[in-house]
């Protein structure tokens, strides 16, 4: 029932976990980069050798404020990067932080994308670019090819275009207001490229309704597709059930956040999610 690349929790896929893996540790901010008017990246100092996989996430806490999940958007020998879109109270507080300040982390949690294969189509919407730029980097490093489709409201919210070009990936862009690239939705670009390319895998992250469209199109063509999902998270390690996808009973935090498209279509993905109380709301 579980996706093949199921996360660390849920049977100890990567060996035994211990309760202390669920405590916070401080991570000093080494560098802050403004990626767009709404989005900042934070380079965090972490213990040596900690390497999250693309698609894994951290629970990030700023004492005095809330703890929220954030995907790793890059990682190196001595740093990890998170890329934070200002959406509300907590993320606004994150945006006020500077070099030398600290955030507190638990994780990395979750399974991550499976990156076997040689040719990928990456479809990102908004801050969904965070895990996908990391995936693009890993794919390039491993000698794979990718086409990167990037969607945003307007030109200034398109993320990581320079970074992609440095990887040798030419992004195709769509903006809702037409200020850059195709005027319209990133799914229009998917319709244009999917029939032409010989993609082994499609990876997508962004607003859920966008991902839903991408997944339907890929599954319809028999192409393997993985989407990185968001649900309300409290524990991050599979205990509380807050992040469930019904009716299959998948936990986004540890059975995901990355799921195969075919599995997702058996769930309420694209239709309904639960709020902090557990109450269901339609999307």
């Amino acid at each position: 029932m579980l996706p093949e690349n199921s996360g660390r929790q849920g049977g100890g896929v990567e060996g035994a976990l211990s309760y202390s893996d669920f405590r916070f540790r401080p991570a000093r901010i080494k560098k802050v980069v403004a990626e767009s008017p709404k989005v900042k990246s934070f380079y965090l100092e972490v213990r040596e050798g900690e390497l999250p996989r693309p698609g894994q996430f951290y629970m990030v806490w700023l004492p005095g404020h809330e703890e929220v999940p954030m995907s790793a958007s890059d990682a190196g020998a001595d740093f990890i990067r998170i890329t934070v879109s200002r959406e509300g109270e907590t993320t606004a507080q994150f945006h006020r932080l500077r070099r030398g300040d600290s955030l507190f982390l638990r994780g990395p949690f979750g399974n991550g994308f499976s990156l076997e294969g040689k040719s990928f189509l990456l479809v990102s919407g908004g801050y969904g670019a965070a895990p996908l730029i990391f995936a693009a980097k890993e794919i390039s490093r491993a000698g794979g090819r990718c086409t990167y489709l990037s969607g945003a409201k307007n030109r200034s919210e398109l993320l990581f275009l320079g970074e992609l070009r440095r990887l040798g990936v030419e992004p195709l862009v769509a903006t809702e207001d037409g200020s850059a690239g195709h005027r319209g939705l990133v799914t229009d670009l998917v319709d244009a490229v999917l029939p032409r390319g010989k993609y082994q895998r499609v990876l997508t992250c962004g607003p859920e309704l966008m991902m839903y469209e991408v997944v339907k199109r890929a599954v319809g063509r028999g192409i393997k597709v993985q989407a990185s999902l968001e649900r309300y998270m409290k524990c991050g390690f599979g205990l509380c059930g807050s992040c469930v996808l019904d009716p299959v009973g998948l936990r986004v935090c540890c059975d995901g956040p990355v799921f195969d498209g075919e599995l997702l279509l058996k769930t309420d993905f694209g239709k309904r999610r639960r709020e902090a109380s557990g109450a269901g709301v339609s999307l």
Partner: protein
């Protein structure tokens, strides 16, 4: 060897249960039963009103367990009973609805509706250590326990279980619950605790106080079960720090008829119920017992 047990009027295919507040939602309760092999599952504690719970952080790890102050977050009993309970029941094991309330009438309203919706039993959470007016104070007050249970036992057809926390008057409360008509006592809930992050120099949980669960509390829970077994004739359900078949079996030997498993799911996964069942089965076969009933309370030395 079959590991089936009877818990009062309830039958279970094995003595493991999913503890309240863990996994929580209907589809995951079903998974705990079908994929995990749990003998019964307990819902999160339902309240009359929708509760958002406390702001994060609400669950953190410590050396030997977990501290949580989820704050009884739930969508309200009505929505849970109509949307989640049916899914949970697809797991084809008894589903016990946990209920938290501030007043007798509230308990009654929710329990009656749970029975109508198809719950196999109700578990009164008289022991939440981190929400005021919703448990701990009640569970530590034998007269209040007696009032609530008597009221419910009078109107309910399904069994009423009472979940107690660690308190000086736990035994008295349990005895009062039995006299008032409870059919099982669950012991224990989490123990009021806190965590301070030395780098942040402040309490980790937004609510400051939370409840400690996991291996850290097992010896305490074991002592509670041992004592309760001596005082009660209704079944005791052991809860607190079950992490493997040994910590489940010692509960049984102390006198528990069944065990509930919570925190260990985070480190062992959903399959822990089956692991426990298999471990106990191997033990029983190896030691030439003919049923699991024979080990219940065996640590007391005398047969009851």
């Amino acid at each position: 060897m079959k590991l089936g047990i009877r818990l009062g009027r309830m039958r279970m295919k094995n003595p493991t249960m999913l503890a309240s507040g863990i996994l929580c939602n209907g589809s995951l309760l079903k998974r705990a039963a079908v994929e995990g092999g749990a003998g019964a599952v307990v819902t999160k504690s339902l309240t009359r009103e929708v509760r958002e719970g406390y702001p994060t952080p609400v669950v953190v790890g410590v050396d030997c367990g977990v501290i949580n102050a989820v704050g009884l977050a739930n969508q309200g009993f009505a929505s849970y009973l109509s949307e989640d309970l049916p899914l949970a029941k697809e797991g084809r094991v008894p589903v016990i609805v946990s209920v938290a309330a501030g007043r007798v009438e509230e308990f009654e309203e929710i329990c009656v509706r749970a029975e109508e919706a198809g719950a196999d039993a109700v578990e009164l959470n008289l022991s939440c250590p981190h929400v005021e007016g919703h448990g701990m104070e009640v569970g530590a007050d034998p007269a209040a326990v007696s009032r609530i249970v008597k009221d419910l036992a009078g109107v309910m057809k399904i069994p009423v279980h009472v979940k107690l926390g660690l308190s000086d008057r736990m035994i008295e409360s349990a005895v009062a619950a039995e006299a008032a008509g409870a059919e099982a006592v669950v012991a224990i809930n989490t123990i009021r605790a806190m965590a301070i992050d030395v780098d942040a120099r402040r309490p980790v949980l937004t609510n400051v106080y939370g409840g400690l669960s996991g291996p850290a509390i097992h010896p305490i829970a074991l002592r509670c079960v041992f004592e309760l077994y001596r005082e009660l004739s209704i079944p005791v359900i052991g809860c607190g720090g079950v992490s493997d078949w040994r910590t489940a079996l010692d509960f049984l030997m102390a006198g528990a008829s069944a065990v509930q498993v919570g925190s260990a799911l985070a480190v062992r996964g959903i399959g822990i119920f089956r692991e426990i069942e298999e471990g106990i089965r191997r033990y029983l076969v190896k030691n030439k017992f003919s049923s699991v009933k024979e080990v219940i309370g065996i640590a007391h030395g005398v047969k009851r």
